[in-house]
């Protein structure tokens, strides 16, 4: 049978705490305690997260500082210059000097004297300065250079008669593209 609710008492706190009210209050307290526990847990987790974030940002700052220091040391001018110099030196050393000298030695004769040989590793060009007895010898020499394997694009840059020399030889400069041997 269902409970009959007839009560002349003025509704108040007394009714809340009576009968099923105790259970209600107990449940309400349990819910309140659970909520309080959950709230404090959330606050604790937030604090932990903030602390961890602080640690993370500290570590990031530290990493950035280290990276900056490393970058600074890497980009320091003397080191770069020395590295470049070392690279250039290594490139120079890697050039096939012997082969080049052998080629040009074979071309030189009593008519044509080789004065200077300047190779440019970047453009793979060789600037050559030589002296010939006359223009015919010069032309012949250039023709023979053209015929050499591994040398191409022979271009006469400058020629003049050396008036100070009693034999009046022709000093001429030319460049030639070198396509064989070591690459820069």
């Amino acid at each position: 049978m269902k409970t009959i609710h007839i009560n002349f008492a003025t509704p108040g706190f007394g009714q809340l705490l009576s009968g099923a009210g105790w259970r209600f209050v107990a449940i309400a307290m349990f819910i309140c305690l659970t909520l309080a526990g959950a709230a404090s847990f959330i606050v604790y987790m937030n604090l932990q997260r903030e602390e961890l974030q602080q640690q993370l940002s500290d570590l990031q700052t530290q990493v950035k500082r280290l990276q900056k220091t490393k970058q600074n040391s890497a980009t320091s001018a003397p080191l770069v210059a020395s590295q470049e110099a070392m690279g250039a030196l290594a490139f120079q050393l890697n050039l096939p000097w012997a082969q080049l000298l052998r080629t040009f030695d074979g071309l030189s004769s009593k008519q044509v004297a080789l004065l200077e040989l300047i190779p440019d590793p970047n453009t793979r060009k060789i600037a050559v300065t030589a002296e010939a007895r006359n223009s015919a010898q010069m032309t012949r020499y250039l023709e023979s250079v053209k015929k050499q394997e591994g040398l191409s694009n022979v271009r006469l840059l400058h020629h003049e008669i050396n008036a100070t020399d009693p034999q009046q030889p022709i000093r001429f400069e030319f460049e030639v593209q070198w396509s064989g041997g070591a690459t820069p």
Binding site: M1, K2, T3, I4, H5, I6, N7, F8, A9, T10, G12, F13, G14, Q15, L17, S18, G19, G21
Partner: protein
């Protein structure tokens, strides 16, 4: 003094007496009568005097601040059953129906009465009325004595709520208080189907034969058959014979298990113990 848990007491108020009971004992809490007062014959029926007696009992036994359940004798208030009108739209419809029924049953306006009901729109519901002056007097005493009343209920309602689950289909619940009998009739589904509240002299229920005759008359007046079982929750003086009525037709069954030493209760004591 600050108390962790306020003491719970139950107060039974009948027209002639006021009794306070409380759960006592540390391990096995047992409801026991704490104190009671009887109204002087010349002040019988004066409700204010009952309130004064209650205030005196509370002061004398230091019960201020207790949580209290008050059980009022059915003789002090009016109790009736209302059939909800068809097409109920609001609570006010049920209240209007209860007021109309009050007027037709008791022949007076309900304006000076405090009406409380177990408002139901789909089945008959119980309504009770207490004079507003009396309720005000009671509230004044409760306030003055610092008693926290969580319930002020009629005895019939308390008994029905307490024993309702034990009542079988078609049975009656029989209450006797202060020369008044309240009969609560259960239907085939063991739900409340009828209520009768009549004056009854003690000689009319003084023995099994008289009581059976009285009940047959009531059944005839209500137009219902005699029940197979009649439940009696409180064994009070006038019904002492019920304990020895074996094989009677209808059967009388006592619901109260834990009776005081003498096994019989005074009217207000039965009310007080019903409330605990």
């Amino acid at each position: 003094m600050l108390k962790f848990r306020p003491k719970r007491i139950s107060v039974g108020i009948s027209p002639g007496s006021v009794v306070v009971s409380a759960a006592q004992g540390v391990w096995r809490r047992k409801n026991q009568i704490v104190a009671g007062r009887t109204v002087a014959p010349e002040k019988l029926g004066v409700f204010q005097h009952l309130c004064d007696l209650l205030a005196g009992l509370v002061a004398e036994h230091g019960l201020q601040g207790s949580t209290t359940r008050l059980v009022l004798s059915d003789a002090l208030l009016r109790l009736w059953l209302v059939e909800p009108p068809a097409n109920v739209g609001a609570l006010s419809d049920l209240k209007a129906a209860a007021s109309a029924r009050f007027q037709s049953l008791f022949g007076e306006s309900p304006s000076t009465w405090e009406i409380r009901g177990d408002w139901q729109s789909d089945r008959p519901f119980v309504v009770s009325a207490l004079p507003q002056v009396w309720l005000q007097a009671l509230n004044n005493v409760l306030q003055a004595s610092r008693l926290q009343a969580d319930a002020i209920s009629p005895h019939s309602v308390v008994a029905l709520n307490r024993w309702g689950s034990r009542l079988t289909a078609g049975s009656w619940l029989f209450l006797y208080q202060d020369r008044r009998v309240t009969i609560l009739i259960m239907d085939a589904q063991a739900a409340l189907a009828g209520l009768r509240h009549v004056q009854c002299g003690p000689q009319e229920i003084a023995d099994e034969f008289s009581c059976s005759q009285f009940l047959r008359l009531q059944a005839m007046l209500m137009g219902v058959p005699m029940p197979p079982v009649i439940y009696i929750p409180d064994l009070i003086m006038e019904l002492g014979w019920v304990r020895y009525a074996r094989g009677a037709q209808p059967q009388y069954r006592l619901l109260q298990k834990a009776l005081p030493e003498d096994g019989l209760l005074s009217s207000a004591a039965a009310l007080a113990l019903a409330g605990t």
